[in-house]
Amino acid sequence: MKIIVCMKQVPVQDSLLKITDDNTWVHEDELNWEINESDNYAMEAALRLKEEHGGEVVLLSMGPDRVKESIKQGLAKGVERALHINNEDFTTRDPFINAKLLAAAIKQESPDLVLTGLQADDTGFGQTGPILAEYLGLPHTSIVMEIEKSNGGIKVKRELEGGWFQSVELPLPALLSIQSGSNQLRYATIKGIMMAKKKEIKSLTLADLGLAEDEVDDSNSSLNFNRIFIPEKTKKAEIFEGDPKEIAAKLADKLKNEAKVF
């Protein structure tokens, strides 16, 4: 089975974010980066399927040069090779344009299965997987916890709300978006890290993908990302900072005498 895993590199989860002066994004230069959480689970699911059924796992990522670091982590965990859509020269935050770029790269590979994470921890649209499925003409399902091969396709367990699940069967090729926590994640081994150095990271340009610059231009999108801002707080928390002992005493007093919760 040939599996493509889409991976996004995002700022680490507890990053302190500073908004740029033009209110369009955050300052990226001081941030540390990591593999998006649910994409990590997608990669884990792909590696497990390969180990059970044979085949190849190809990692696909889009971003500037820095994403190579995350790609290398994937290669060290057992991914065979990687595709990198290098967008040093263009940045788009439109999920439909991003999916168009990813779809162009995926089409060249004709995989049996495409896996994405459920949603990115930065923009949080949660749209890339289902849009990709439409662009690639593949059946899909999302919020997937378990995957097994079945007659002529795959059977997956997907999550519904409130502790309910559903089993769904899909023919291959198909696309699945994977939920965080669906597996125990592996660590790269020393051997894996050594082997990763010999693995290929193929860089893809717009021309390689057969796309023109105006096709990936956010300003042609019918969706406008106007500005970003720190949300106004609807509820004003009383904040305690400082010496832990003093804070704890104050808080305990508030809980007992003001909130009266014990």
């Binding site: 921890d121 649209f125 069967e169 019918s222």
Partner: protein, 326 residues
């Protein structure tokens, strides 16, 4: 006949997902602000009664009733709604951002060659145009979005962003068959069964006090400290999703959209940043206390008391202080 604003309802076995009514409330607001009519679409089989129930506060309820949309699938729903959009030309299509809607709404937008703003927390008017607000960076930052162009604009609203109790039941609509040509629709995925996951052995919804633990706890060994805090407060121990995924607490102690919904008089969140999936499960608690080292963590936005600090210093001090005062 045509449609201006279309809310797509969600049902399973003829039972409405209550979040649909929140999307109807959002639709009523937009309907008033934009001077547009509001309609609802319901898909499924044996949904006649449900369609009648939905005729409240809307102009029309469109119905697409067939075996092929009996069980929800992205293929079935997208193909049916695409036909309806071609016929009715709605300006807006609204959803409540449930798990089902996450699964198909962006595929539908792609199939229509239109855009979706997903998981909005609300909208505001800028002159004649609505500006949709959604959260990025897991609730730390908000972003404003607008649409250009006249085609169908798709918007999903976060569960809880609108209150279903605010439904204006003034007008009473009529049911109309949407006239979907179901024989043209191919469904590639097959739903085998629907089942409940873990047996819920702990009912947190009845708990008076809850100490809830997030990924800030770092290691399973640190659960001992949390157990001690829960014990001195005579509280139940709960957790956010990552802690249960890692097996540090059983799944039936998970609070949030994939776990339990709780309303204790005290909810003490330790090392929980407050991703929306967690917040929907606990935001109606009486007194909310958050302990987190990140002063921008969204959990502080809904807390009554917040401690910005290292939980490994604050929690032992709090255990001592509570012991002294109780």
């Amino acid at each position: 006949m045509s449609v201006d604003i279309l809310v797509v309802a969600e049902q399973r076995d003829g039972v409405l997902n209550r979040a649909t009514l929140e999307a109807v409330v959002a639709g009523q607001g937009l309907s008033k602000d934009l001077g547009l009519d509001l309609s609802v679409l319901v898909l499924g089989k044996n949904i006649g009664d449900l369609a009648n129930d939905l005729c409240v506060g809307v102009k029309e309820v469109l119905i697409a009733e067939h075996e092929k949309v009996g069980d929800y699938t992205a293929d079935g729903y997208c193909a049916a709604i695409k036909q309806i959009v071609a016929k009715e030309a709605p300006k807006y299509i609204l959803f409540s951002h449930t798990y089902m809607v996450r699964d198909y709404s962006s595929k539908l937008a792609a199939a229509l060659n239109r855009q979706l703003v997903s998981d909005c927390v609300g909208y505001k008017m800028d002159g004649e145009s609505p500006v949709f607000v959604r959260q990025i960076f897991q609730g730390k930052i908000d972003a404003d979005f607008t649409f250009s162009g006249d085609g169908a604009n798709l918007v999903s609203f976060q569960v809880g962003a609108f209150n279903a109790d605010n439904l204006d039941s003034g007008t009473s609509g009529e049911v109309r068959d949407a006239g979907v040509a179901f024989d043209e629709i191919e469904v590639r995925t097959k739903v085998l069964d629907i089942f409940e996951g873990v047996k819920q052995e702990v009912d947190l919804s009845k708990a008076e006090r809850i100490v809830s633990v997030g990924r800030g706890i770092k290691k399973p060994e640190n659960m001992d400290l949390m157990n001690e805090l829960a014990a001195v407060l005579d509280a139940e121990l709960a957790a956010s999703r990552p802690v249960c995924d890692d097996g540090w607490l059983p799944l039936d102690r998970q609070v949030g959209s994939s776990g339990q919904t709780v309303t204790p008089s005290l909810y003490l969140a330790v090392g929980i940043s407050g991703a929306i999936q967690h917040i929907v499960g606990m935001k109606n608690s009486g007194t909310i206390v958050a302990i987190n080292k990140d002063p921008h963590a969204p959990i502080f936005d809904i807390a009554d008391y917040g401690v910005v600090g290292d939980l490994f210093e604050v929690v032992p001090a709090l255990i001592a202080a509570v012991k002294e005062i109780r």
